[in-house]
Symmetry: C2
Subunit: 267 residues, 2 copies
């Protein structure tokens, strides 16, 4: 996580950034079907950073880890012109094989657990109103709410491919499609935007479904299950796996574009 | 590792920086008595970085890992105004308990394995002559040579405390002294500077023993053993553990100061 690219210190507190940095990584472990157990954190910090900011950051890291019973096991710290965080997560697969991206097969169903579009909606509000923006979407942008338990649950249910939605649903499912040599068709009727996303879209004049399909950083989980699956309540069907390649959204011409890791920085 | 602080792209190639980033972390695992098995790497890279530079970096990471049979298991990449690397290492303790910093007891001997002062000498030559500087000390500055096998070997021999010398021998042994609530006395007669260090010191008008005592980044290993230890050839006695606190160098008034993680950047 790079200051000015993944966060702004005037839009998020040190505590928020700690929560988010931990959440992104804990979600990664959950998305392989693991129970996250520990993170290690490498920090680069400006010499004039207030020590209270650093303490808030470490509080945030610790509190997010505590949600899943994980701990901050160690790390390293050095001076850097801007705040940078590098987090590595360890997890326990509890004897199961990891759920990879390559296990999707035509005929299976695609399901999603967690919020979609909230973080992008919150970012749009922050860009419009600055750090005074508020509401649930802004809260989720600052502190994502990955559905941690849904990862191991999906693995136990028999998910054959899974990932967390960090760059946008269409773009991330594209990784499963490519790794599995299949196509994926999403049904927008099954991907209704949440109330906070709809409200934010009205405020800034955006299409809420764009954020649902292409907004990153919510760290929802997306997984592929056998077609006869009996899904638990945390999971909702969003589409199906087909022969072919790429991700289509039924009824929409071009899938919206997600996060570009080498695109422009935050405004 | 932060560009401009831990390396300069005009003084080190991408390949060198990859070797060094891996070496620092593999040495950390060895210093707990583990055989390093894998690293994961988080990269922040400027958008205009030549792709050849990135390829050389990953070659360097891979080749250094290959020295110990480890692999680059994964990582992440994003845009950043300057090159930053965050590396996490995993290792196999082969059933042994990790060797910590807190196990030193008065009466034990302190021993060192690997080079001391070379990297600091090489840095001084680079600062004097720029990127055209050459010789063994410069080579070691660019690509440290940690004595990887000495770590698990020391653990098998019965080392009760160990670390790798990343910030300077006196400073790093200070961590063992503090964690173990003991003092350490080093014998400078047992810490003779290598030829390349002596030559570099003459060229820039420095004291070679200063570099041996305070120069970081060689990633030598320093360990504490029972006094009746029979050391293998890779290890050399350098001092002893005493009652008290801190690290003294016999015959010298003030121990030289090592690397300050919040001190100034490279010139």
């Amino acid at each position: 996580m790079i200051e000015g690219r993944h966060f702004r210190r005037d839009w998020s507190s040190g505590y928020d950034i700690g929560r988010k940095a931990a959440a992104q990584n804990l979600a990664d472990a959950a998305a392989m079907g693991a129970v996250p157990t520990a993170i290690v954190v490498g920090l680069g910090l400006p010499a004039d950073l207030p020590v209270e900011w650093l303490e808030a950051l470490t509080d945030g890291l610790r509190d997010e880890c505590a949600l899943v019973g994980a701990s901050v096991a160690g790390g390293d710290i050095t001076r850097c012109p801007l705040v940078v965080l590098g987090v590595t997560v360890m997890g326990d697969l509890e004897g199961r094989a990891p759920v990879l991206r390559s296990g999707a097969r035509p005929g299976q169903v695609v399901a999603v657990s967690g919020l979609l579009g909230y973080s992008a909606a919150g970012l749009a509000l922050l860009e419009k109103y600055g750090g005074d923006a508020s509401g649930e979407a802004v809260e989720v942008h600052r502190r994502p709410r990955p559905p941690y338990a849904s990862g191991p649950e999906a693995a136990r249910l028999g998910a054959t491919a899974m990932l967390d939605v960090s760059d946008g649903l269409v773009q991330d499912l594209g990784h499963i499609a490519a790794a599995s040599a299949v196509g994926i068709v999403l049904d927008p009727e099954l991907l209704r935007a949440g109330d906070a996303v709809v409200r934010a879209a009205a405020e800034v004049g955006a299409d809420p479904l764009d954020w649902v399909l292409a907004g990153g950083e919510d760290h929802a989980l997306a997984a592929v299950f056998p077609s006869d699956i009996c899904l638990t309540p945390g999971w909702n069907v969003a589409g199906r796996v087909v022969e072919g390649e790429g991700v289509q959204v039924a009824g929409r011409v071009a899938p919206a574009r997600g996060w570009d890791h080498f695109g422009p920085d935050m405004s």
